[in-house]
């Protein structure tokens, strides 16, 4: 059997990689890709806790489904914003969106 | 348990016995047998696919008042093999500036998205790949891979026609997934399960008679998902040359083409499973799994024939009309149908089976009639508006 720790370490590593992407990438779409990785890491944890706790309590899976919905909402609004910004400023590089940084 | 009643399990047990007899580990032997089963299923499907090419060409010829392939072999049966030889010896071109890995991966994914569907197809009561309790959702999941393969093909070809074709097809597939998913809910509601086998077992009366509207909407969504006429905008020869697969040649094109045919046949099979009782036919499926497979294949062929019938008698429609048709008509209609079906199912749960079937059928007819009336009144207003504008223009 696989111990719970393996799943948790996998999720932590995935979260770290996603965080790296969010902090480091210049392109706004790539930043959103990193956010997706972090959300997936959270979901792995939720489902793993469901499986390793009391299986009849569905809280873990329910929360994971809510995360799915939130991720879908986040991506649709986030990408809409990126496209809108691209139309006005002709760039999707996060560093160059510095109108509020005088 | 003998071979006549449960051939797969008998064959698997026999093979596993042989492998363990050679001193192989029991787990490894099991994995090997499962792998061989998958290999066998894929091989049978690919061979079937070759004959689908012949069937498709014969049927289209009949629709167009021709004879079709008739030179190579009896009734032109060897024709597809000649086609394959031609495709294999054709020059395999890769366009300049193409993304090579993605370009070569796309046809494989396209074929895979079709083959993977057969994992959940119950060929007979005792013969199916995996007894998934989310079998119905699996259909949509495999469709997601197909969408991905098309966008990969369109993008990696470095060709604007391919790109536009890919964009169109993906927009269509994503849009028509919504009514399709809603229509998959209806057999799920009736059977109380998303398991394919449970859905078939629940069809003492074919779901087509309980919910004909659902079967119709599913067929429309399936044809859109397949990208066949009247929804073949991705290929649109007159405007896009060949759409997303324009740069592919030889066997890579062959994989897209064969994948499309097998996909159409597969959706014919799913139509049969979800709405026409799958392998069931007046208890004949109990006699032997072989008979059950035969029944399913005949039903799937009939479904495939309907899809071909639509393809060769309808004209291609415009992309905006098509997406408008989906978002403004099909999606609201399918949601309304799911709501009505769920409501009626709750109301008639304890009722006599005849009352249940009649009530469901009538509710479907009413929903369809109301939808058509709304569409008609909208169309009338639109026509009056357009004609009014014309009359005013003529007046001036």
């Amino acid at each position: 059997m696989i111990p719970l720790s393996w799943y948790l370490i996998l999720a932590a590593a995935l979260f770290g990689i996603g965080l790296f992407g969010v902090l480091v990438r210049r392109n706004a779409v790539a930043i959103l890709l990193g956010v997706e990785l972090m959300l997936n890491a959270v979901n792995i944890n939720l489902v793993a806790f469901w499986r390793y706790g009391d299986v009849t309590l569905m809280a873990g899976q329910v929360f994971a489904i809510i995360v799915f919905a939130v991720a879908a909402a986040e991506v649709s609004v986030g990408l809409a914003l990126v496209i809108s910004v691209y139309r006005r400023r002709n760039t999707v590089v996060a560093d160059e969106l510095d109108l509020l940084k005088w | 348990m003998n071979f006549w009643n449960d051939p797969l399990k008998v064959a698997a047990a026999w093979l596993e016995g042989i492998f363990t007899g050679w001193g192989m580990d029991a787990v490894l032997a099991h994995v090997l047998v499962v792998f061989l089963g998958v290999f066998l299923l894929i091989t049978i499907l690919m061979v079937l696919d070759i004959f689908l090419v012949w069937i498709e060409r014969k049927v289209v010829a009949r629709f167009q008042d021709r004879i079709g392939p008739n030179r190579v072999g009896p009734y032109g049966l060897i024709q597809p093999f000649a086609d394959i030889i031609k495709l294999i010896i054709k020059e395999d071109t890769t366009p300049d500036g193409a993304d090579k890995v993605v370009y070569n991966l796309a046809p494989i994914l396209s074929m895979m998205s079709v083959l993977i569907l057969w994992a959940v197809v119950p060929l007979a009561p005792v013969m199916l790949g995996i007894d998934l309790n989310v079998g119905v959702l699996f259909l949509i999941a495999a469709g997601a891979i197909g969408t991905l393969s098309i966008i990969m093909a369109g993008w990696s070809s470095n060709n604007k026609f391919a790109m536009i074709g890919g964009f169109r097809q993906v927009a269509v597939m994503v849009a028509f997934e919504v009514p399709m998913l809603a229509m998959l809910m209806i057999p799920t509601i009736f059977a109380g399960s998303m398991n394919m086998n449970a859905i078939i077992e629940a069809q003492n009366v074919w779901f087509f008679f309980i919910s004909p509207l659902a079967a119709l909407i599913f067929l429309i969504a399936a044809i859109a998902e397949l990208g066949r006429a009247p929804f073949d905008l991705a290929e649109g020869e007159s405007e896009l040359v060949a759409g997303f697969n324009i740069e592919y040649s030889g066997m890579k094109f062959g994989m897209f083409y064969a994948g499309e045919l097998l996909h159409a046949f597969t959706f014919g099979g799913f139509w049969a499973i979800l709405f026409f009782g799958g392998y069931r036919f007046f208890g004949l499926e109990q006699v032997s799994p072989f008979l059950a497979i035969l029944i399913l294949v005949i039903k799937a062929m009939l479904g495939y024939w309907v899809i071909m019938w639509v393809k060769y008698t309808m004209m291609r429609i415009r992309i905006d009309q098509m997406l408008g048709f989906n978002w403004k008509f099909l999606t609201p209609l399918s949601f309304a149908l799911v709501l009505v079906t769920a409501l009626m199912n709750t109301l008639l749960r304890g009722a006599d089976s005849w009352l249940f079937v009649t009530g469901m059928f009538l509710s479907n007819v009413v929903v369809g009639w109301i939808a058509l009336e709304i569409a008609r009144s909208v169309a009338r207003k639109e026509r009056e508006r357009v004609e009014g504008v014309k009359a005013v223009e003529a007046h001036h």
């Binding site: 932590a12 489902v47 329910v62 799915f68 909402a73 809409a80 | 997601a144």
Partner: protein, 169 residues
């Protein structure tokens, strides 16, 4: 080592490797395709956790919708994604440090927890996770409120995305 553990290790390595490619590839279309690979890996992880429904939903929602949306967004904003400009900002080493520290901190904190290396008990015979999930999602005593709020959120996001991205001319 059991067969299950070997499968887990292969899938986990695949997932993490493609996740690394997501954050380091220069070509953003490739990054989005690597994201698809990562999401597949996570779906297999769900299947290993006996959550078949979650695995299928992962493929439907993430690969069928979200990944496709990403590819569309990359294509619609492609003009200044010249692949020869730096894709990372100049403080990339600080980002890497923070990411490694987060990972190390998480693992270190978890290590002290008593349930860290616990193994799963077998799923009770005849237990149907999907029907249980469906009942709890629609039961007033359980999670019907979050479920409905999520649907409202999706509707709001749909309207908002159309409004924001709509090209007013």
């Amino acid at each position: 080592m059991t067969a299950e553990q070997i499968i887990f290790l292969i899938v986990a390595l695949f997932t993490l490797g493609s996740a690394l490619m997501v954050v380091t590839t220069r070509n953003l279309i490739h990054a989005a395709l690597w994201l698809v690979a990562t999401l597949f890996g996570v779906a297999v992880i769900y299947a290993l956790l006996n959550a078949g429904f979650m695995a299928v939903v992962q493929v439907v929602v993430y690969i069928g919708a979200i990944a496709i949306l990403f590819i569309f967004a990359v294509m619609l904003t492609r003009k200044d994604l010249r692949d020869n400009t730096p894709q990372t900002n100049k403080n990339w080493w600080a980002g890497a440090l923070i990411a490694v520290l987060t990972f190390a901190g998480l693992v270190f904190t978890l290590q002290g927890w008593s349930g860290f290396s616990k193994t799963a008990s077998a799923v009770p015979l005849g237990f149907d996770a999907i029907s249980q999930l469906g009942e709890q999602l629609t039961s007033p005593t359980a999670y019907v409120l979050p479920f409905e709020v999520a649907s409202v959120l999706l509707l709001a996001a749909l309207v908002g995305a159309v409004y924001v991205a709509f090209n007013k001319k």
